[in-house]
Structures are given as structure tokens and as C-alpha cells.
């Protein structure tokens, strides 16, 4: 009885693929099963191949694998696109009455279930429910109690009123009955249910939720794939907490609005993807120089230029680390999982305000569009702390004035952090600028003051390095000489790859790094390792470059940049191969 099931529905954009997948994912989650979803989609509204994939298990799942057990194929192309992941015994559910699927035959060894999806849907109340018929068929194949679908259908269609939920429920049962009556399947799936109550969310939603939990009250953004969901999530929700979400006319405006709100004292954020970061970069320098706290979320996609907007990549590391003219102190945080998207967002707001510095929060498409189940405790609001840093009020700002009673927003301090007075605070009126300035915030070209202000701003980073925890997340065998290092969304796939490798008696120590700048010093770990492999979704190994720079040692690079995220089994094979190659090389 396999515990894992890999399920997918694929067709053309506009076929309702997304909502069907979501209904099944929610049903599984409600039934107390863990779920991890991924999406293949193209940059178009209708037409073109699109798929929603679900991996489900009773145990926690954090990634996708190269395997499909049940595929609902609404088009022939769906089968072709997934041929490599289909295997002997895979079930393909299709509608042979559909013109495009008329001549379809399941490849050798696979089980084709020809179900008249559209006809059964029409009988149940409307052709539009054909996907739900297919869901019912899939339930029968996988032995998943169909009642679990009903709650999801209620959630999806409940607001539409009338008999819509009921008809959908009927449609699902028609699909189930058709398979039961026409096929004598002897498959050993049994999707066990549990009492667990999980929540199901994606990385963009986790970022938005983290922002609201952290007290973010102002969001300005411009729609861009795959960051738009952050704005869509926050819209209507931030307002409930006394905030505002503004769709700006472009990214330049978005970041400047966010900057204005931050200066007015609101916890403020913008989110975009690579091309948007390009446009925001000039203002990024102003934010740093004027010492304004701001969180800038970059949900990375394939670049450069417009690249592949709907595909995965981690190619913007250098841009976030070095982007902008001059030398700009900054923090770059890279959540490594969907739940870390929540926690790192909270951390980003605290870092931004404690150090009055812009913070890049770098997620990527794989995190943004994948959903995962979690026990709700993983988002424990009681554990969220908000630290606004050195904010002064009418009384305390008296400690920060010169002999003319002028407030010093850029006071030279030992830790590099100056006092912050929100507009409206009596006696605190001051200016700030992107020009080099003195302690009062006024422009200066004084050579000594220039050096003092540059040093002061850089000192904030030093203070943060000393006072905050920048450690990596560690997995696997701490004593192994095989060291894998990665950053961002690859963590889940690598963690699962470790299990595959463990089965083959290959031990690996894995350090997952959620901080690009500052980042943990891994010199000792690297010195202790026989082999170091850096895994990342870009062509040149931007993080590997940093590792080599830090540790003064060459590392192996495992890169993927075809637009598809790493998969657990694929990674296990590649890591194993890389380790074997080095054995050969030394032999």
C-alpha cells in the first residue's frame, strides 16, 4: 500500500485546472493528509498547457518528485508533457468522447480509463463540471473516500448558491460510479485519512500573512508574476487591520509610496519580481541612505529581461546583493520553505526597523506557487514579536538634539543606529535625503562627515551580524564528509533527497542558508568536509561564488536553470553522481 500518491490534472489554461486541483488538495488536507502541490503554467490566459500536481502522503511532504501515479488528461498534450514522469501502472483518466482524445491509447503498461467526463457532467447538471467527474473517478482509483470532496466543493461553490454544490457532488459520484462499474481495477492505493487538521497555503500567501502578523499596514505594488498573489492576498485583509493596499501605476511609484508610508511610520512593504526590482533599484539607494525601514519582496522568476515569467529560477542573487550604484548596506533574506516565508517576513520587518535599512525578502516562483499543508501551530501568532527599534517620542527625542534643539535623525552612534521620529512627533521635524548628509540630515560634502556617515551606516550591518542569529538550518548527518549547501526553495527537495540517499547508504550533511547578506560563516564546516556541493537554480552558481569567496575553497556546483524546480529523486541521483565522480577523481 503506497503511502505517497502523485496526482495531476492537466489541460489548457482556462479549463479550470487550478480550481479543480485546489479542490482535491483541500479535500486531502481536510482528510488529514499532507499535501504538496506544484503548478506548470504558461504565460497566457487561455490555451497552452497547464497542470496542477499534487503529492500527498500521511507524512509531511516538502517537494515534488519525478513520478505521476494518476493523471487526469484533458488534452493529449498533457500526456506528452508528463511522459517522463509516468510509469508502469500509472493511471490516465481521459474522455474518449472528446474529439481531441478520440484516438488516444494509454502507452504500454499504463492504465487508461476512458471516462465520458463531459457526458456524465451534463447528466449531473452541466458540462462545466467535467473536471469534478474526473475527480470522482480519481477518488475511486485511489480509494479516497469521496465524502471528503464535499466540504471542498462547499468552500469553492457555496457562495454561488442554489444547487451548485449538490450538482458538483453528484458529478463526482457519477465519475466514481462509472469507474467502479466499467473497470475492474486491482490497484493497491488506499488514501488513509487522519484526524489532523492542516492548513494549506502557498509561499506568497505565507508572505502576506507574515506581513500582516508583523504589523504591516501599508502595501503598494504593481502586478507581476509570480509576486501578484502577495498583493491579492493582502488586499481586503490589511484593511481589516487599519491598513491600505495600493496598486500603483508602476514599480517606481510602488516603492516610493512604500517609502513615503515607511517614513510616516507605517510598517510598509512592496513585492515584485526581478524586472520590478530593476525599476526599484534607484530608490533602493535612497531608502538605505535616508535610513528608512522597508521590506522589498522579490519573488524571483527566470530572467534576464522578461525571461520566462512563469518559470522557476534563483537568478537574482547578485542583483539583490550588489544592485544599485555606490555601496548600499542591506539585508537579503531567503526563506527556504513555505512556512519560512511567514517567519522570515516577520524577521524582515524587525530587521528593517531595528537597523533602519532596506531588506530584500527573496522568495522564488517555486515557493510562491506551491502549496503545502502545515499544522496551524507552525504559524503561531503568539510567538511573533514586533521590534520597532529606536523610535523616539516627544520626551525621549530630547536626548537626540544639538545645542540648537535640532533633532538629529542621522546621529552618529556606536551601534550605527540613529533615533527615528515619526512625522507628527513634536520637536522632531527634520529632513532626510539621498544626498550625503550630516547628523541633522542636511546635505554635506564635508569629507570627514562623509566618511563618518558611510561608516555609521555600515556599522549597522556589523551590529546586526553580532546581535542577530544568521545561522543556517542544518539537516542530515552532522558528521558526514559530504556537505551539501543550498539557499532558498531547494531545501525541501534536498531534505527528501537525503532520505533517498540514506536508503542507498550515502550520508550527507546539508546546510540550508536562509540569509544571503549577512550570511553565516561556513568556513569551518567547509574545511571539515571532503566534498562540498552547492545546489541552486541558476546557471552560474551565484551562491557558490560567495561560498568560494568566503571559504577560499573551490566547491562543486549543481545548477538547474531550465525553468523547473529541483525534484527530490532527481537531486538524490545528481548528488550521488557528483560524489562518485570525486571518488573516481581521487582514485
Amino acid at each position: 500500500m503506497p503511502e505517497d500518491l502523485n496526482w495531476a490534472i492537466g489541460g489548457e489554461a482556462g479549463d479550470g485546472i487550478d480550481s479543480t486541483g485546489k479542490i482535491f488538495a483541500q479535500a486531502l488536507s481536510r482528510a488529514g493528509r499532507h499535501v504538496f502541490t506544484s503548478k506548470d503554467f504558461a504565460s497566457r490566459i487561455r490555451g497552452g498547457y497547464t497542470a496542477y500536481k499534487i503529492r500527498t502522503s500521511v507524512d509531511r511532504v516538502e517537494s515534488v518528485v519525478d513520478r505521476l501515479d494518476i493523471l487526469i488528461a484533458l488534452t493529449q498534450r498533457t500526456v506528452e508533457e508528463n511522459m517522463e514522469e509516468l510509469h508502469e501502472g500509472s493511471v490516465i483518466i481521459y474522455d474518449g468522447e472528446r474529439t481531441t482524445m478520440k484516438d488516444f491509447e494509454a502507452p504500454d503498461g499504463m492504465i487508461g480509463l476512458n471516462v465520458p467526463l463531459r457526458r456524465l457532467a451534463e447528466e449531473a447538471g452541466g458540462a462545466i463540471m467535467q473536471n469534478i467527474v474526473a475527480l470522482g473517478a480519481a477518488c475511486e482509483v485511489s480509494d479516497f473516500p469521496i465524502e471528503n470532496l464535499d466540504e471542498s466543493l462547499e468552500k469553492r461553490f457555496g457562495s454561488k448558491g442554489g444547487s451548485i454544490v449538490e450538482n458538483n457532488s453528484k458529478a463526482a459520484r457519477a465519475g466514481q460510479a462509472y469507474v467502479r462499474e466499467n473497470y475492474d481495477l486491482d490497484l493497491d492505493y488506499e488514501l488513509e485519512t487522519t484526524d489532523a487538521d492542516y492548513v494549506l497555503l502557498n509561499g506568497d500567501e505565507a508572505i502576506g500573512m507574515g506581513a500582516i502578523a508583523a504589523g504591516c499596514r501599508f502595501y503598494a505594488g504593481y502586478p507581476i508574476t509570480p509576486a501578484t498573489n502577495v498583493m491579492e492576498y493582502m488586499t481586503g485583509r490589511v484593511e481589516q487591520f487599519g491598513g491600505a493596499v495600493v496598486q500603483a501605476e508602476d514599480e517606481l511609484s510602488a516603492i516610493n509610496m512604500a517609502l513615503g508610508a515607511a517614513r510616516a511610520g507605517a510598517r510598509s512593504m512592496t513585492a515584485t519580481s526581478g524586472p520590478g526590482i530593476d525599476l526599484m533599484t534607484e530608490t533602493f539607494g535612497l531608502i538605505a541612505t535616508s535610513e528608512t525601514p522597508l521590506v522589498i519582496t522579490n519573488v524571483m522568476r527566470s530572467g534576464p529581461s522578461t525571461g520566462m515569467p512563469t518559470k522557476q529560477e534563483q537568478g537574482d542573487l547578485n542583483q539583490m546583493l550588489y544592485g544599485g550604484h555606490g555601496e548600499i548596506p542591506r539585508f537579503v533574506l531567503t526563506p527556504t520553505s513555505i512556512s519560512e516565508c511567514f517567519h522570515k517576513t516577520v524577521e524582515a520587518f524587525n530587521l528593517a526597523e531595528k537597523y533602519q535599512t532596506p531588506v530584500y525578502l527573496a522568495a522564488d516562483l517555486a515557493l510562491a506557487v506551491s502549496e503545502q499543508t502545515f499544522p496551524p501551530e507552525e504559524f503561531d501568532m503568539d510567538k511573533v514579536e514586533i521590534d520597532r527599534g529606536k523610535v523616539v517620542d516627544e520626551e525621549s527625542l530630547g536626548e537626540w538634539v544639538n545645542d540648537k534643539q535640532q533633532f538629529k535623525p542621522h546621529a552618529l552612534t556606536e551601534d550605527g543606529v540613529s533615533p527615528r521620529a515619526f512625522p507628527g512627533t513634536k520637536g522632531g521635524a527634520h529632513m532626510s535625503t539621498g544626498l550625503e548628509h550630516d547628523e541633522l540630515g542636511r546635505r554635506t560634502e564635508d569629507t570627514d562627515m562623509r566618511v563618518e556617515q558611510v561608516d555609521k551606516r555600515n556599522r549597522k550591518v556589523q551590529t546586526a551580524i553580532e546581535n542577530e542569529d544568521w545561522s543556517p538550518r542544518e539537516f542530515g548527518d552532522a558528521d558526514s564528509g559530504n556537505l551539501v549547501i543550498s539557499w532558498g526553495s531547494n531545501e525541501g527537495a534536498i531534505r527528501e533527497a537525503l532520505e533517498f540517499l540514506d536508503d542507498e547508504n550515502v550520508s550527507v550533511r546539508f546546510l540550508s542558508v536562509p540569509y544571503i547578506f549577512p550570511r553565516p560563516d561556513l568556513t569551518e564546516e567547509i574545511a571539515a568536509a571532503d566534498d562540498v556541493i552547492v545546489v541552486e537554480c541558476n546557471a552560474t552558481g551565484q551562491f557558490a561564488d560567495l561560498i568560494e569567496h568566503d571559504a577560499l575553497r573551490r566547491v562543486k556546483r549543481l545548477n538547474k536553470y531550465n525553468g523547473v524546480r529541483f525534484k527530490a529523486d532527481e537531486l538524490a541521483a545528481k548528488i550521488k553522481q557528483a560524489l562518485e565522480e570525486s571518488v573516481e577523481a581521487t582514485a
Binding site: G215, P423, G424
Partner: protein
């Protein structure tokens, strides 16, 4: 807000580095007087400026201020006003800042109608970079980068504002102090986005659009029996190619600011050290 605020309270102790005779002096003085006479004080005022001679204003005035990047002052002002609607937000910039690099933001700020005041110090030239054509330069205005003139029509900022649904559109002149202050005060008191284009002659690089030129050519709408609430009359003023006007050109008496329409009224700067009440519901939504 205190009632005994004088306009000199808005003055910083920094001496302006504008050229002697620069129109920006008068524009700034009018802004300070306007703010003081409408009951504002430096601690409740947030001033945003862009880049260029006009951008220096934040240094010479005393208030909460941000000197932003070129062309992006308006979004900064919008963000600040929405985050704290109690603030008096004023944005200042030049004609290049507002109608060239920032033209997109200008149009959208107008149509967004956030309650703030935008003053453009229009001298029809780039001063700080030493005399290149600006978007409001005349078609035949010869400069270092346009030796035969720009050979393109100048931007008509008032027309842009009217087309974008502007609710307060005015023209003032930096050397007519009384009228300028009067217009600024009306702009501050207007519930919505108030746009004041203020001719602020550049005495160093522009020998065409001079004090004398404006003094001789500007027609005061106050003496013209102009009804600023009449959109058609405003259109006639804006598209009159024979004359230039000064005064409030258009004022929508039914203007409702963006923040009011959106129900934004809270000062967002005050938050607890814990997530807001009810945040756990956000998690429950994902069941």
C-alpha cells in the same frame, strides 16, 4: 496644530544656494506662508521634493521632509499621506521633475486625488544641470542640447491635469507674493489633490521666460470674471494659445479625496508589539 505659528517657523537656518534673484525664493516663501496661515506647523507637515534646484527646498524649509529621487516625489507624498492622514503633505518639484521624468506619476497622482498639495516650480528650463530644455520649454528655445530649439510642443501641465480628472488646478507666479500665497492657501484647503504650477523664473539660464515676460503677459483670472467651478471655462483658459493666466483655473467643489473614498483614516504609525488582534483568523482561513 498651534495657532501662533509664524511662517518663519518653517524656515531652516540654512541659507539657500539658489542664484540671487531665483524665482524659487518667492515660491518657497509662499509655501511657508500658506502652511502657517492655514494653521499648520513644522511638526505636522511632511514635505517631499525631487531632484534639481527645486529639490533643495527641503533643506531650506523646516518641517518633516524627504528629498527623494528624480521624478518620484509624488508617490512618496501619497504613501506618507495614506499612512498618516493627519499629516499636511506638500510636494514640490521642478518642471523636469514633474512633467518629464515624473509625468507618469503626475497624471496618476492627479487621478488618485489624495488630499495633498503639489507645487511645481516651473522655470521652463533645467537649471541645476546648467541650461538644457525642459518639457515646458518653448518649441524654438535654444539651449545647449537643443541648439535649434526642442522642435516639439511644450507640455501643457494644466491640460494634463484636467484630462486626468484634476480637482484643483491653479497657476501662480512666484513674484506676485500676495496672489501666490492666496492660491497656495486655497490649494492646502482643497479636499483632494491640489496642483499649483508656479512660474519661478530662472535668472541665470532662461532669458526668455523672465520676470518681465510673466509680469507683462500674465492675466489674473480674478479680474477676468472666471468661474473656477466651470469646467468649460477652465478648458478655454487652459487651451488659450494667445494668453497666459494666473489664478485658480479649475476647482471641483464635489471633490472627495481618495483616502475618504477608501475609508483610510488611521495613523498607521502606532502598532502593538504583538500581532494585531484576530490574526489567528488569517491562519484559519487556510483550513
Amino acid at each position: 496644530m498651534s495657532s501662533d505659528v509664524r511662517f518663519t517657523d518653517f524656515k531652516s537656518d540654512k541659507q539657500p544656494t539658489w542664484c540671487p534673484g531665483c524665482g524659487d525664493f518667492g515660491t518657497m516663501n509662499g509655501m511657508m506662508k500658506g502652511l502657517a496661515e492655514t494653521g499648520n506647523d513644522p511638526d505636522n507637515t511632511f514635505l517631499v521634493a525631487g531632484i534639481g534646484c527645486s529639490g533643495k527646498i527641503g533643506t531650506y524649509m523646516h518641517s518633516y521632509a524627504l528629498h527623494g529621487v528624480h521624478g518620484r516625489a509624488l508617490p512618496v507624498g501619497i504613501g506618507a499621506k495614506l499612512a498618516n492622514p493627519n499629516l499636511e503633505v506638500m510636494v514640490a518639484g521642478g518642471d523636469g521633475d514633474g512633467f518629464s521624468i515624473g509625468a507618469g506619476h503626475f497624471v496618476h497622482a492627479v487621478r488618485r486625488n489624495v488630499n495633498m498639495t503639489y507645487v511645481v516650480m516651473d522655470n521652463r528650463i533645467y537649471g541645476l544641470t546648467k541650461g538644457q530644455a525642459s518639457p515646458t520649454s518653448r518649441e524654438d528655445f535654444e539651449t545647449s542640447t537643443t541648439p535649434d530649439g526642442p522642435m516639439q510642443a511644450p507640455v501643457n501641465p494644466h491640460a494634463l491635469a484636467l484630462a486626468a480628472g484634476g480637482t484643483f488646478i491653479a497657476q501662480s507666479f512666484s513674484s506676485d507674493a500676495l496672489r501666490h500665497v492666496e492660491i497656495i492657501k486655497q490649494a492646502i484647503e482643497h479636499p483632494g489633490f491640489a496642483f499649483v504650477n508656479c512660474y519661478s523664473p530662472c535668472v541665470t539660464f532662461n532669458d526668455v521666460d523672465t520676470y518681465d515676460y510673466f509680469r507683462d503677459s500674465l492675466v489674473d483670472l480674478k479680474e477676468e470674471d472666471h468661474d473656477p467651478t466651470d469646467k468649460d471655462a477652465a478648458k478655454d483658459v487652459i487651451f488659450d494659445s494667445e494668453k497666459e493666466y494666473m489664478g485658480v483655473i479649475y476647482k471641483d467643489e464635489n471633490s472627495v479625496p481618495f483616502e475618504e473614498r477608501w475609508g483610510i483614516s488611521e495613523n498607521m504609525s502606532q502598532i502593538e508589539d504583538k500581532p494585531p488582534e484576530g490574526t489567528m483568523d488569517l491562519v484559519r482561513e487556510f483550513y
